[in-house]
């Protein structure tokens, strides 16, 4: 049984005049201890997906339809009290910007201890011991002194460690990490990623890593979802996606990386940029930028089909698969 299963999730923003769809029919599953990644360009809806799992979408946004199940519990139907039970304890989140994620007026210790004490009934002293232990786990030197410091007294990498410590406090089943290293230096990024990876492996925690950096993803995730304009366009094992991308968008994304061209040469750019929510085109959202777009792409939304180990939403692939199938049939 899946630890987490999201099916046909639709998230909308209720604006004054119109409803804007931020996520459209998103489905995926996550197994216990599995590490998946969600990649895509800015504005694809990655963060919204992350937040909607714990029902934390910011105000004009709401879950329009679909279900999110944690084991057998339906998260979308829960009231605040029940959600509070889940949040932090079962599903924990790490945010992008460590500078903004910790409350500047409370000490590190306060923020750690309150998390423990709001879920379990233990004394302050015990909670403090747990917190210090976790700080130690994330390789913070002299955790006792850090415990009483304020966030602004810590460097960015240090703060991200504290945040990781704070999500570990209650040994959650799932950690959602929304671009946990984008704001950090390369060297620190590597350390944090390693730390995260080690922790997930050691404790059997499932990880949802949200990132736009395929390099980062390839280091951490076993499976990858590629998002474009609110849709999941491709899903499959990370290695598969990197080595053999099916969807033209994924291909474009990978090809645009400087590594893919010889030094000094022009890069393989994708034309245009991702549409904003208000100007989403009809049919396949990628068709204006797609080099293979056909008439059909402009009108219809491709469905998600399995092709090999991965699944793709693209008529090109669909046609190809169908061709194969037809050929198979003909062959037979």
């Amino acid at each position: 049984m899946n630890l987490l299963s999201v099916s046909n999730l639709n998230v909308n923003f209720k604006m004054k005049k119109q409803e804007l769809a931020a996520l459209i029919d998103v489905s995926f599953t996550l197994n216990r201890g599995e590490r998946i990644a969600i990649v895509g360009e800015s504005g694809a809806g990655k963060s919204i997906l992350g937040f909607s799992i714990v029902n934390l979408i910011s105000k004009p946004g709401y879950i329009k339809s679909g279900s999110i199940k944690l084991e057998n519990k339906e998260l979308t139907k829960m009231n605040l009290r029940q959600l509070q039970e889940i949040r932090g304890k079962r599903i924990a989140m790490i945010f992008q910007d460590p500078m903004m994620t910790l409350n500047p007026v409370l000490t590190i210790g306060d923020q750690l201890v309150e998390t423990i004490r709001s879920h379990t009934k233990i004394t302050y002293k015990d909670a403090r011991n747990i917190a210090i232990e976790k700080l130690h786990n994330v390789q913070i030197a002299s955790p006792e002194t850090r415990f009483d410091q304020y966030p602004h007294e810590l460097s960015g990498g240090m703060r991200q460690r504290v945040i990781i410590a704070s999500v570990l406090l209650l040994n959650p089943d799932i950690i959602i990490a929304d671009e946990p290293t984008t704001a950090l230096d390369v060297t620190i990024q590597a350390e944090i990623l390693q730390l995260l990876l080690a922790i997930c492996r050691d404790n059997g925690v499932a990880l949802v890593l949200i990132s736009h950096d395929l390099g980062v993803v390839s280091k951490v995730a076993e499976r990858t979802l590629v998002m474009y304009a609110g849709h999941i366009v491709e899903e499959g094992p990370t290695l598969e996606i990197i080595n053999d991308p099916q969807h033209p968008y994924t291909q474009g994304l990978l090809n645009a990386l400087p590594q893919m061209t010889l030094p000094g040469q022009r890069l393989n750019q994708i034309q245009g940029s991702m549409p904003s929510l208000t100007e989403r085109p009809t049919g396949c959202a990628f068709h204006p930028r797609c080099p293979y777009a056909t008439e059909k792409c402009q009108q219809e939304q491709p469905s998600f089909i399995h092709s090999g180990v991965s699944s793709v939403a693209c008529f090109l692939v669909e046609d190809m698969v169908n061709d194969f199938a037809n050929q198979d049939e003909e062959d037979r």
């Binding site: 945010f95 007026v105 709001s118």
Partner: protein, 326 residues
């Protein structure tokens, strides 16, 4: 800390010097103090003599020099009307004003904080809409109209609370005449502090609401939600403390408004405090008192701001007073 205070001190001196020059410059422009001291039948020669005695005929520089010399020794001149050192007169009235202001601030804090928080966390709720409407209206009604109608309704028509003065006072520690320990004193305090509070409340309700809404948008609040903390803890520990930072600064700035408002309230309610004294002194042409008042208020402003900065530093760990040099 010490450096911080020292810096404030230098600033205070600067402010004081400017204020003293200005307040002194108006000395003989308000009217003729001698006119207030003698009866109509006194001849102009006699008046001239008196003027001479008071040193009013000296040159401006001479007068200012005399004044400044005294001021350094804490002598801001002697009130014509009270015949006492102006500073003493003002300090005697200080408790009344402070009590009034204190009660008003207390009322504001007690009422405005929950209202602002409520309006921020439930912006669509009918109660918070009502709150916002009321505060909009409250913001638009000038304090003197509020005070006038309070007197009219509460004391004249309904006879609930006394309309003027401080009522019975008790002396504590021999230096503070307090009205807050007797029932009578408290009942006298009711209307003035209420109207002062009502006049300033909307500003704070709206400010707290706006700040709180801002804070509630921030990442760390979202993070707190994602940790599964209770709503109470998030609103009152995480959000409120951050909300209070700008509120404190604005509060410090509102001190000037508060002074203006105390003048109005005290005048209307005959509250025997500094503001009333000031208006009285102006109409009596008691210029030393006027000058002293301006100086004292300037000083109080500097003190308030220092205190506000200190509090700000206490609440906000990122502003270390130490970094100002300890």
């Amino acid at each position: 800390m010490l450096i911080f205070l020292l810096r404030r001190l230098v600033q205070a001196c600067f402010v004081m010097i400017i204020i003293s020059v200005i307040s002194f410059a108006i000395q003989d422009k308000l009217g003729d103090p001698v006119q207030q001291m003698v009866s109509m039948a006194v001849s102009s020669d006699e008046r001239e003599q008196l003027r001479e005695q008071l040193g009013l005929n000296d040159s401006f520089l001479n007068q200012y020099w005399r004044f400044a010399k005294g001021a350094i020794q804490g002598d801001l001149g002697t009130s014509y009307h009270y015949k006492e050192p102006a500073l003493d007169v003002i300090l005697k009235k200080l408790p009344a004003t402070l009590e009034l202001v204190f009660c008003a601030i207390l009322l504001i804090i007690i009422v405005a904080t929950p209202c602002g928080v409520l309006a921020a966390i439930k912006p669509k709720h009918p109660v918070s809409r009502l709150l916002m409407i009321i505060s909009s209206i409250g913001l638009s009604v000038p304090i003197f109209i509020i005070a006038i109608f309070m007197v009219y309704l509460f004391s004249v028509e309904w006879n609930i609370a006394p309309s003027f003065g401080r009522g019975e006072t008790t002396e504590i520690l021999g230096l503070w005449d307090s009205g807050i320990f007797t029932k009578d004193g408290l009942s006298h305090l009711l209307l003035p502090s209420l109207s002062l509070a009502i006049a300033l409340m909307p500003i704070f309700v709206r400010l707290i609401r706006a700040e709180m809404m801002d804070v509630l948008q921030s990442e760390y609040i979202r993070f707190a939600w994602s940790k599964g903390l209770s709503a109470k803890r998030i609103y009152f520990i995480h959000a409120l403390k951050n909300t209070m930072l700008p509120v404190i600064t604005v509060g410090g700035i509102q001190a000037g408004t508060l002074v203006a408002y105390t003048i109005l309230t005290e005048t209307i309610f005959q509250w025997p405090g500094m503001g009333f004294l000031f208006m009285d002194a102006v109409s009596r042409v008691d210029t030393p008192l006027v000058a002293a008042y301006l100086i004292v208020v300037g000083g109080m402003f500097v003190i308030t701001n220092t205190v506000v900065d200190l509090i700000y530093g206490l609440v906000n760990p990122t502003v270390r007073l130490a970094s100002h040099g300890l």
